[in-house]
Amino acid sequence: MLRYTVSRLLQAVLVILVMSLLLFMLIGLMPGDPVENMLEGNPSLTPDTMAQMRALYGLDQPVYVRYGHWLYSALHGDLGYSSVYFRPVLEVLGPAIVQTAKLLVATEIISIPLAMLLGALAARRPGGWTDSLISLFAFASISLPGFWTSLILIIVFSVKLGWLPASGTPLMGDASLSEQIVHMILPVTVLTFFHVGPLVRYVRASMIETLNSDFVRTARAKGLSESAVIIRHALRNALIPMVTVLALGFGSLFSGALVVETIFGMLGMGKIIYDAVSNIDFNLALVGLLLATIVTLLSSLLADLAYAWLDPRIVLK
């Protein structure tokens, strides 16, 4: 187990390094030139000063040299400045991470029990009308474009009914908890609807398999009530693989968060990355993307480990 953990961690570090190089090269291909962006509109700008600036920032060097420099300073804790906010990127990303974390945690807190409930209900009688209805719901969930659901909810609840705000994140501290919650209702609804479909299908499949296994038959034969069989025996076992599904779904949930944050104007990680790419803020886009990638990779690593820990039948090698 320890050996497995260490080797997976080393692999993860390697992957993160490769990803950082790829992202570094990709971000370099975005339009524009950092020096030109920085000095835009400056009347004293001559080709000479531009060349000097380039040399000063090392931009005249080949990409691997620049990556080397970037990696060296990154490992020393210097991730550079955002050219739009004029602040260190981590200072910009800090509050955004908190914002996105709130959004994602709220979504998971609602999605997981909801998926368990719907999945278990559907699995009780596969092919029955409850099952068909729930399966229709799951299909709708994977087919709905999140940005459209957001627009429709805004039209109904903000424009027509005027019940909920359509945008804005009240910054922490100067907004009351209730105000923050009110602003989260629509985004969390969209994300939950987007996230819960695949989970429901998973719980259903896993429950059907578990309900057909010997220990459930034994539990039934002992005369346990149906609810005890489902909740205490079947559901608990069906949930083990869900750890993996949740972790693998993190990337797509984060993608959903980007769309939702952009539409609802919430300053989270997704919107920061989107704005950074739109405004060609090289450093901010790079670090934001890299952080998102690292979190996704680590979550899938944690899932594998948790899987083994929860289910002693699994031996990792």
């Binding site: 692999q11 490769v18 299909f139 087919s143 474009p145 989107y274």
Partner: protein
């Protein structure tokens, strides 16, 4: 299973009856059939956008400030948008783009995915390991942010001229290619798993021992036997790719106006949500129903091709 007998008996009659049985099963799946008909009708309507435009005497790109936000009428069945353009025609032209991106990107995804998956599964060993680690990495990526960066890449920096980089064909191909670049992993995994199973079946080993080359084995034994899960995966991939394209175009990193797509029609609609909410309803509704229909067809194909799965989940 009967896979061995199936591929040995390669006479046409036998093949035909397998496909006929599958079609029979598919035909009895009401949801899948309705979805298939819906998709075919929608696709033909989109393909007919040009003739319809001509017959109704309209011009899809003509803007007029006097005709803004018209309600539905005999001439403009769904009204006009903020620039006075006919909404129905733009929806049909947008559909052409969305469906074309979905099909073409799925095709490229399938070619890359099947090639990599089959090679990894057939060769095995270290090569397989490296390829599968690569797919793991891509699967773990948050796709939309990565697609946005890929969509923002300045093509002149990789050697295209200014003119060709902004031509509609290049913009279209670019979105197809970037989606294919991140989406091939699903199909690669399925192809690899199938290849490994088939490779170790006795008759393939026998063929290998009798001197069959890798290419022969792959073409004659492996590909036909892993076709079923691949066809299902490809169908589902069309829906997913239409969603990717519309999301990217909505965010402004996909296909850009004036070429309409269901995604970028919604970008504008967001600004007009108070004055013209219906403009935000139509394109999204088409994306939703199209993707849903594609997914139902995929599900129908799955159960038509693999009746065991159906009975397995239906019985206790």
């Amino acid at each position: 299973m009967s896979t061995a007998t199936l591929s040995n008996v390669s006479t046409l009659t036998r093949d035909n009856s397998v496909w006929r049985k599958r079609w029979e099963r598919f035909r009895h799946n009401k949801l899948a059939m309705v979805s298939l008909v819906f998709i075919l009708l929608l696709a033909s309507a989109c393909a007919m956008a040009g003739p319809i435009e001509y017959l109704m005497g309209l011009d899809a790109n003509a803007t007029s400030l006097l005709r803004r936000f018209r309600p539905p009428s005999a001439q403009h069945w769904l009204g006009t948008d903020d620039l006075g353009r006919d909404v129905l025609l733009r929806l049909l032209y947008g559909g052409q783009v969305s469906i074309a991106v979905g099909l073409l990107a799925t095709f490229i995804t399938a070619v890359i995915g099947i090639a990599i998956g089959v090679i990894a599964g057939y060769v095995g060993g270290r090569f397989d390991n490296i390829l599968m680690r690569m797919t793991d990495c891509i699967i773990a990526l948050p796709l939309i942010p990565v697609l946005i960066v890929l969509g923002a890449v300045d093509l002149t920096k990789i050697g295209l001229s200014q003119d060709s980089a902004s031509s509609p064909t290049v913009v279209f191909l670019r979105i197809v290619i970037i989606i294919a670049l991140v989406d091939w992993t699903t199909i690669a995994r399925i192809a690899r798993a199938g290849t490994i199973t088939v490779r170790n079946v006795d008759y393939v080993r026998a063929a290998t021992v009798s001197g069959a080359r890798a290419r022969y084995n792959v073409l004659v034994h492996i590909l036909p036997n892993i076709a079923t899960p691949l066809i299902v995966a490809m169908t589902l991939s069309v829906g997913r790719i239409i969603l990717f394209e519309s999301t990217l175009s909505f965010l402004g990193f996909g296909i850009v106006p004036p070429t309409p797509t269901w995604g970028n029609m919604l970008t504008n609609a967001q600004q007009l949500i108070i004055s013209a909410p219906m403009l935000a309803v139509y394109p999204g509704f088409l994306i939703f129903t199209t993707v849903m229909a594609v997914n139902f067809v995929g599900d129908g194909v799955r159960s038509a091709f693999d009746p065991r799965a159906e009975t397995g989940s239906g019985s206790h």
